[in-house]
Subunit: 567 residues, 2 copies
Amino acid sequence: MRQSKLLLNTLREAPAEAETINHQLLLRAGYIRQLAAGVYTYLPLGRRVLRKIESLVREEMDRAGAQEILMPTMQPAELWKESGRYEVYGKELMSFQDRHDREFILGPTHEEVVTSLVRDEITSYRKLPVTLYQIQTKFRDERRPRSGLLRGREFLMKDAYSFDTSWEGLDESYWTMFNAYRRIFSRCDLQFRSVYADSGAIGGEGGSHEFMALADIGEDTIVACTSCDYAANLEQAEALAYSTQEPNLELLPITKFHTPGLRTIDQLKQELQIQPEQVIKTLIYQGGEKIFAVLVRGDHEVNELKVGKYLGVADISLADYESVKQMSGVESGFVGPVGLALTVLVDAAVAALPHGIAGAGQKDYHIRNVVPGRDFELSHIGDFRNVTKGEACLHCGEGRLEFHLGIEIGHVFKLGTKYSEKLGATYLDTSGKSQPMIMGCYGIGISRLLAAVVEQNHDDHGIIWPVALAPYQVHILLMSTKDLVQVELAEALYHQLNELGIETLLDDRDERAGVKFKDSSLIGIPLSVIVGKDAGEGRVEYIERRTNNKENLELSEAISRIEGYIM
Amino acid sequence: MRQSKLLLNTLREAPAEAETINHQLLLRAGYIRQLAAGVYTYLPLGRRVLRKIESLVREEMDRAGAQEILMPTMQPAELWKESGRYEVYGKELMSFQDRHDREFILGPTHEEVVTSLVRDEITSYRKLPVTLYQIQTKFRDERRPRSGLLRGREFLMKDAYSFDTSWEGLDESYWTMFNAYRRIFSRCDLQFRSVYADSGAIGGEGGSHEFMALADIGEDTIVACTSCDYAANLEQAEALAYSTQEPNLELLPITKFHTPGLRTIDQLKQELQIQPEQVIKTLIYQGGEKIFAVLVRGDHEVNELKVGKYLGVADISLADYESVKQMSGVESGFVGPVGLALTVLVDAAVAALPHGIAGAGQKDYHIRNVVPGRDFELSHIGDFRNVTKGEACLHCGEGRLEFHLGIEIGHVFKLGTKYSEKLGATYLDTSGKSQPMIMGCYGIGISRLLAAVVEQNHDDHGIIWPVALAPYQVHILLMSTKDLVQVELAEALYHQLNELGIETLLDDRDERAGVKFKDSSLIGIPLSVIVGKDAGEGRVEYIERRTNNKENLELSEAISRIEGYIM
């Protein structure tokens, strides 16, 4: 492609509303333009990258044995009422009435449509298992669209759905997709982790994994081991278990000491040089119409999801000031476990303390020599805390846990029979008995992936595309369009690279060298070739964008280097 | 692909609502399924064909120098109000409010979006001309969705838009696209004609051509020459001109004769053996607040579009019974041109008659020896009629005109400056003066094309795909899955064809031979290979779907025949 003909405008500055790097660079380098909040047009460069991702995803889906279909965007609202998701999605669902006042929604996902399709098409175990996928535009009315393609209202997804006759079959379909996803993200040169996760609004039974691209702008905290594959969302990460010791009854009895106004761990540390690890924090929670206490170490944080799960309560929160005072008889900051007339959940790290310091249950006093199991009951020991940075990995025992921020780029779910039961997708098993199909669903945000790759692959000058996704593989920069020797050499190179099937952009614009260099770095094509003052000797400058490695080479050498790099 | 794994159900009967062949076959052969009226899911076979059409169209667009982009489906309604099309489209436009009560429409086409995009991206003549295209889902709330994919509410389109600095430039862009369209439809093995046409609701200046696939279910009548390239919609087709003679004043004077109750040409022919070619029909029309008469020969039909154009009136219609009586002084059926106090438009074929028979202007009487130019004025002679079947072609003078019915599959328009002026898409010309861009737009219905190909390519047994669009190129029918010799040979063939990059479907289902043959004919893969009783001798039966030509061949011969056929 000749750049003089290409619809491509680079911008010196990104619009003010672009806060994240990927959003800024994609706008500045002329890949996308905004039409409305969270709604984008892909310009020629952007469309090319998007198509590369589509092809790559399609290849891996086909390799995994999934079959491509194409379902409609318009979905009858009744289907969503049947599945119960019409209410759950609420305002995120875009909907409209057709000319006959029939309500349709613009699909944010296709569980209902695919389940009703398979219900009608497959009636026997003989046609199962099957995995269907599509690459299709989705709609979600985000309350606050942001970060460009990362959280848009119209976006491109690959969604897939598996149908099995057994849970073992679902496992196989699930891990086949899981591995396909790993291949896809690896081929996109992404740094990512797969983490076990809650299913969220999409609902369902069984497990799920999120694939997270590591990035500082991520909205989720991921915990990952430095040594093994283990990774999880912070809420889900399992903390190192401590073994509880028999209480040492030889220890000195509890001693009260004066701590006027010292309500926090920080204050105790500052004023009295008490180590947080020695402190037993007592927090009063409410949830499910109950009030209860949770004990964690002073250097730990309560994980409310874990507490909620232990109690079988969906939604728990810290009790308010008044409730704390009423239930514990003292202001918060001085609550302690000894003599507390509440259910007490004890984190394993607390239970493992030989003795500790705690609130005295009396204003302006703490107590020391508090022995778990001697001074308060250990009826409810468990993992009730967030893991901490640097903590040993529970899974391999070798690595340490690191914290990352991540962007969700893919999600695999075991749905089980949630949709097949609601929508009647059954099959006849080998004995002729009707059974609900066992489903999985699998999503990749194609347009989001594009943004995530840019977020991970850039420097101060612009984007750095991995070869597999680059809009073009080689960028020829013709320094002077008036110098016939340069023009001839550039054209010869352009022609030869095209003949070799190498996608090449030729900057044949009548612009200054500085402009061409700047634009080239911004656009981020992996290799560039400068045709300039050495053209007379048939020499060019070969540059690798990622390393900024530059070499003065003969034309034929440059071509072999290019072939070597991109193959 | 193994058919035992493929999501594919053939149906013995098409659902009652499917009235056209393409709709019936695409449903029966398992290519598509309806989700709602005019809204379809593409099953794996349908998706494959759709992708082939997409690729073919993309290839030809790229070859023509168009650049691919992707614009959003969601378009702010304000844009459509700015262009004035919000009102014009009316109920066909699907629209919805987002969570902030901002109105969006689901794009049926993208003139507004692309014009505002180019307005912002291109400011100088240096970046022009440019042609942009996309392949994207469109929405149109048809009052009566029908014929399956032919007239759906959600459909796939390729739309392209050109931007030029001069009308000559537009001409070049226009004919480049025109020729690309010809290549696309030829590569799809379609029988089609390009016809000059009115622009319709999309509006604009300059000409336009429709590409029509010939088919008995078409909604438009096309006139085409048997010898040259000439083709036009019936409303637009130019009739053969007759040269008007000086009236022969030697002829006998007008004679009145009694025709009681004979009001129509048919009745005159039946009762009095009068040839319609001798009769001068006088029809009273109204339009633009005028009443006027149109004279055509008894064997011709008035073309209201031509009459309207001549008068510069948009909408004309036959006058009602009372108006006719009032204006001509006689009941319709006996109105004649002689002494008529109205403007009289005379079709050239009437003006060329030496003499004719006409209504007498008196109930139950006609007159003969009516000489044009002697007995009524010839102030308004023109082409006011539809052409007739078998008439000589005006353009080559050699061929005759034939009538066809056609399905619109593509449309190229010269839009001119309609949108660029409304939306302010201007550029600075070489002298620094601001000018509106001169636009063209070009559409192909991708999903409609699929339907049109089926409508033209089928027999009583099912679809007959052209090789370029077939979901698979070869269908191997394994007769007995229990016969190990057959299984081995079929697998070997399947493996070899896959190695050669030939897309192959292997019918490895445990079904009777009759079922396999029936399904294979219905699905319509161009070549099939039967692996049956001769497998022991390494022989198979090779069948071409279109000709039903069958040959018993050795495996290697069959493979070379396949390669020869599809290359």
